[in-house]
Amino acid sequence: MHPTGDWLGPLPTWLLLWLLTLAAVAAFLGRAGRLVRLLRAGAPDARFDHPRERLAGVVAEALGHRRLLATRRYSGLLHLFIFWGFVLLTVGTIEHFLHGLFPGARLPLLDAWGPYRFSQDLFNVLVLVGVGMALYQRLVLRPARLTYNADALLILSLIGALMVTNLLASGARVALHPLAVDSWLPASQAIAGLLRGTPPAWQEALYRVGWWGHVLLVLGFLVYIPYSKHLHIVTAAPNIYLRSLRPKGDLRPIDIEGALERDEPVGVSRIEQLSWKDLLDTYSCTECGRCQAECPASLSGKELSPKQLILDLKEHLLHDEAARLLARRPAADATRPSADGHGAPGEPRRALVGAVIHDQVLWDCVTCRACMDACPVFIEHVPKIVDMRRHLVMEASRIPPEWQKLFDNVEASGNPWRFPRHARADWAKGQGIPTLAERPDAEYIFWVGCAGSYDERNIKVSRALARLLDRAGVSYAILGREESCTGDPVRRVGNEYLFQLQAQQNIATLQPYMPRKIVTACPHCFNTLGVEYRAFGGAFEVVHHAQLLDRLVAEGRLRPQERLEATLTYHDPCYLGRYHDIYDPPRRALAAIPGVRLTEMERHRERGFCCGAGGGHAFCEERTGRRINHLRVEQALAARPQRVATACPYCLMMFEDGTRAKDVYEALPVADVAELLEQATRPAEPAASGEAAPRDAATQESER
């Protein structure tokens, strides 16, 4: 009853199997080769460093399904079954084919090993369970994040059929030709039990149907994989291996002058200007939509869907541009601004930026990285968006007017609102806050940032922090008028040129004062000064005020004693939380205030929801859908706190804007961690010495 022991017409079936197998493998390799060649059309990218760390990630995520199981566990679990089933059943598949291609051959060790056989039987069933769960999710639960297309159903059907054919063949074999090892095969035995009583000829027929059905399905699957989203079974582990190990807050710096000299692009306007790793990302997308389900833009009704972005890039690569790239035909001019729609002859039919990816999709992003942190295969959405923004800003000059104003303002006055440079330190006048000139031996430079210097609401935070540093006996000073915008917002919007001008200016300002530590109250300044400036020669030791305050409290240098009877919820700023994994210090600092009870919003810590100001959006209006900050305020209200605390000037502004808009401004006060700690550490009696008195008057002013 050997499945390939007979003849089909003139051909022995084992030969037929060989032919089919070789044909399928050839088709697969052909297509795979094409895909690999397309990858090589992409720009270079160094991703092969730190092999151990990379491998550890693969083990944890691909094998361990860490992200998949961290949220949306139902979906994670079903995938766990299917994935591990695939891994273990692959052995069985190899065995299956060997059996057919080399009649008489047997895998020596495994053949009769009970546990192995059991694993096959078990996973045949578990995979079916997984498929069942997946079908239920797809057909009944219908979460919005999934793509409902034929490909997905086809895949599930194929997987299901693979399992069914396996079980059928196995069960029929157990019925026809029982073996000792069959005690390890409960499922197959059960099927054999169902077949008891049927004529052996039927059982034989079922066996063949199952066996050959399985073979054909495997070969069909093999051929189909590189055309479907299921390509991820090949690319997912490599994609995870090759993930970026650079600091999360670091955007790729460009050698602008060099690029212009060499006539190279400074942004991405053609698919081949993305790196090969970016292109691999598009192959690896499983259409799971977890990114979209975390994206504040998507959730507030904007055009941007991170998933759709990646899939659009993939389609553009494989359909619009593949022929040209494989023939190595350059586009008419790699650095010319992309057309809004149709290009001229010689140009791509659809321009990547403008037609394939609408400008607005790129502008919608708040760079919060929720998408990247949710993606099970570690696709990197945000850098691609920023690179395409760079094209729009620096090459095509298609910039929303509000951001043009932002650029003009930062360039002219060193802050996003065009307040005069010389007024930058006015907030500190009469507050007893020294500049570096006045306190040359200061241990810390307090980098105030634009919001902390010019925005009325955030000036209160700056003053509160200064008070706290004084109380803790921390020696600090501010730069005063020399301070200028770090350039973070303009970099995020895509103006790398202006960013580098600001960076060079600030680094030159800071260098003479080094070595010294820098403390800042703004996570964006924290990220830019501490991480991004390194690429430009500025290696600074920067601490965020929440970290410093936490440490001061722990060391006893700050003693919160004033009770604050309130239930607080802490909003994680994206550039502190997700970007730098700083979740605990602000919470500890808040918890140290007597009377405070901390409650968490549903979306907190790694799943924190952006306030809506990132990616330059603090400086422009949202025109479609709902406002992201309104959504976040609703989320905060759902946690029923009495107050909201945060550690970022923009989160503070957006939250208060949101509470005003929702008429809960008085009901839900928002404050910075520094403000709450300052109130909690205020000296109880009026100070005896005259020196402290002005500060107390000032601290009263900082009260609501």
């Binding site: 007017p401 509000e402 009325e456 209006e621 025109r623 005003r660 808009a661 008429d663």
Partner: protein
């Protein structure tokens, strides 16, 4: 022809005299009286006979009617040579016009054609010791004030900012003469072909003539709050305007913008909601008699220009204000 009058150039108008012409006439009369010369008004166009009576009733001692089909619709190529000849023939020492979009164009060209200069967009005029015109003009968006005279002894041309002055009052039993000088225009001088003015569908003619205006700025917060403004406007019978911030943010169309380069309004009551009061905006509403400001920021510049102020959130103040207004006025 008699010589030496303060000559007012009438704004192109269909049928009745344009209100801005009467504003200039109102300013010109005292100057003419001080100089001891008559005040004249030049009207150009077609079917302009009807304007003479009104102008004389408002104090014009002389009305020059220059009627010619080539003078209507207005265009600079035709108006400038005709006016230049009129000024030379009548020997007017002072020529005044309104600083409208039209006056901005032909005023300078006329002055240079006459070999003199022009002081544009003036708030007021005086005569100095020599009887020469001294113009007071806001500059730098309204941040500063400049006072100018014209060099030499020749004819002086100046344009008056609209809506800052009341129209000339009626002078009971006033008599004046009507003169119809020949219009000598060489067709070769007319290189431009002018079409009829097109009224924009969005334009708010109501805005510039309204007696009550409610305007919103950035502090309104968003397009969804704009209806609060509209409700207030409806409750008190006001036109709706906006600051540039609201227009730039896309909440309202451009023609609603009040400011230095937008609409100039001079209502009895101007309520500015969420408007910071930047000088460029204030330049558009300087003519307002009573300015009421509603703004969250007690330091906002608008409060330096306002007569009545409310420091508060528009979203809270407006509904209550509207409700109470309706109650008090029975609308």
């Amino acid at each position: 022809m008699a010589s030496g009058s303060v000559l007012v150039i009438g704004e192109p108008a269909e049928g009745a005299v344009a209100p801005v012409t009467l504003e200039v006439l109102g300013v010109a009369r005292p100057l003419a009286q001080q100089l001891g010369v008559p005040v004249a008004v030049a009207v150009l166009g077609q079917d302009i006979e009807g304007q003479a009576a009104e102008l004389i009733a408002r104090g014009a001692d002389r009305v020059y009617l220059l009627a010619d089909p080539r003078l209507a619709p207005y265009q600079a190529d035709a108006w400038v040579p005709v006016l230049a000849e009129l000024v030379r023939d009548t020997g007017a020492p002072i020529v005044l016009l309104s600083h409208t979009q039209t006056g901005r164009e032909f005023g300078p060209r006329l002055a240079f054609r006459l070999g003199t200069g022009i002081i544009t967009d003036c708030a007021d005029f005086q005569l100095d010791a020599r009887g020469r015109l001294r113009a007071i003009k806001p500059v730098y968006g309204g941040n500063a004030v400049a006072e100018y005279t014209l060099a030499g002894d020749g004819v002086q041309v100046a344009s008056l900012r609209p809506k800052l002055h009341d129209p000339a009052p009626a002078v009971p039993d006033h008599q004046g003469e009507v003169v119809r000088p020949p219009v000598r225009l060489d067709d070769r001088q007319i290189r431009t072909r002018a079409g009829q003015r097109v009224r924009s569908a969005l334009a708010g003619p109501d805005l510039e003539n309204a007696q009550r205006v409610v305007a919103g700025g950035r502090g309104v917060g968003g397009p969804e709050n704009w209806r609060l403004l509209e409700e207030l406007a409806e409750a008190i019978g006001a036109a709706v305007g906006a600051s540039r911030a609201a227009v730039d943010a896309g909440w309202v169309p451009g023609p609603l913008q009040i400011g230095l380069t937008g609409a100039k309004i001079s209502p009895q009551l101007y309520i500015a909601v969420g408007i910071s009061g930047a000088v460029q905006h204030m330049a558009g509403c300087q003519g307002a008699r009573t300015v009421v400001a509603i703004n969250r920021d007690p330091e906002a510049n608008i409060f330096k220009h306002a007569h009545i102020g409310v420091v508060g959130n528009a979203k809270e103040v407006l509904p209550a204000l509207t409700r109470k207004c309706r109650e008090l006025t029975g609308r």
